[in-house]
């Protein structure tokens, strides 16, 4: 019996199972990191864009993409693009809810001007209070900021608007 060719839709579905190595509850697709997929026979070109250009997880992501697609019998080439630059607005609604569920406040939607939302109130992912204070604009990774909730006293991080 002839083996059925893999479709691009199946490639996207497989990539939706490749998790962000630093936030393993969300996938690279949900984070808006995967920009394009081009399938040609057993070869596939995956175009991705870094959230932050110094992201230390980039090489791990590339490796995980190649391994996952190899399971479909595909040989993947991963290419990086910076145009257009990644926007936190691309994080899907489902991913936003998941970020919050692990105590990471999702970034405000900004429509292109992220500086405009930086001083907007942030709600605590644990108790939803807006009585929160920015402690540092750099957290445990370049893409996070540290806040503290003055209501439940819980420190938490926000994924940076970008």
């Amino acid at each position: 019996m002839e083996k059925l060719a893999v479709t691009e839709q199946e490639v996207w579905a497989a990539l939706d199972e490749v998790m962000d190595p630093e936030i393993p509850v969300v996938s690279l697709v949900q984070m808006g990191i995967i920009r394009a997929v081009a399938l040609q026979g057993q070869q596939v070109l995956v175009t991705m864009t870094p959230t932050f250009s110094g992201c230390p997880a980039l090489e791990v992501m590339e490796e995980h993409i190649r391994v996952r697609l190899a399971e479909l019998g595909l040989e993947a080439t991963v290419e990086k693009t910076l145009d257009p630059p990644w926007s936190s607005d691309w994080i899907s609604d489902a991913a936003r809810a998941k970020l919050k569920s692990v105590g990471l406040a999702p970034p405000h939607l900004h429509g292109g001007d992220f500086i405009a939302v930086l001083d907007a109130p942030i709600s605590c992912p644990y108790c939803d209070s807006f009585n929160t204070t920015l402690k540092n604009s750099f957290g445990t990774t370049p893409c996070r900021m540290i806040y503290v909730c003055n209501n439940c006293q819980q420190p938490f991080e926000q994924f940076k608007p970008l």
Partner: protein, 255 residues
Amino acid sequence: MDSKLNASLAEYLTALGDDELVLAQRDAEWCGHAPILEEDIAFANLAVDELGHARTWYELAAELLSEDRGRFPDHLAYFRDAAEWRCVQLVTLPRGDWAFTLLRRYFFDVLEVLRLEGLKSSGYAPLAEAAAKIYNEELYHVRHGKAWLPRLGRGTEESHARMQAALTQLWPYTAQMFLPLPGEAPLVAAGIAPETAGLEAGWWAAIEAALAAADLRAPEKFIPVTRPRSQQTEHLMGLLSEMQMLARANPQARW
């Protein structure tokens, strides 16, 4: 672009990358030593950002020189001797105290944002795209520095004294930042890069306001450092010997 312009741009990008990489290395020295935990983490991540920016510039240089995009950045970082580096002296200076570290970074970040504003409209599309990406990230750097300057400048007697001392020590080195970068002249003429000297007024305006908000005064009398980027100091040699040691001892090393 013709091959001559390609070579000029590769030289220019390498100098940009050298500034970022050396500053990243200096700031990473704080990892495990910063005065508070949040800043320890913050500085490690500021350094990681600059490392990513250095790699971006080096990758663009690799393309222009028809080098391997994956390997060339490591070659530039690990296998050049001090005389081949083109960073400004400001970033090579030993890390000093916390006041010195914050102020140096702020001086650098403010200039970087101004330069990136110019590079965003570069006539060389890959450079314009990279600049747009890095610009967004650098706005967070400036925000971080802007919050810290007044905290220390208007904090305790000691924090003020340390900031003022850092300012006096750093100030002469800022002059070199406004000299043309290697390869710059033909790039300015071709609309590929902004003229560095033209960024000085904007930098000064931003720094003057930040210093005033932090009760700090730039020294009036000083001897500006205006040596070319091709003349490096023993500070860079010390930094490189540590940074390059492993890669040179074992060129096949993998993480």
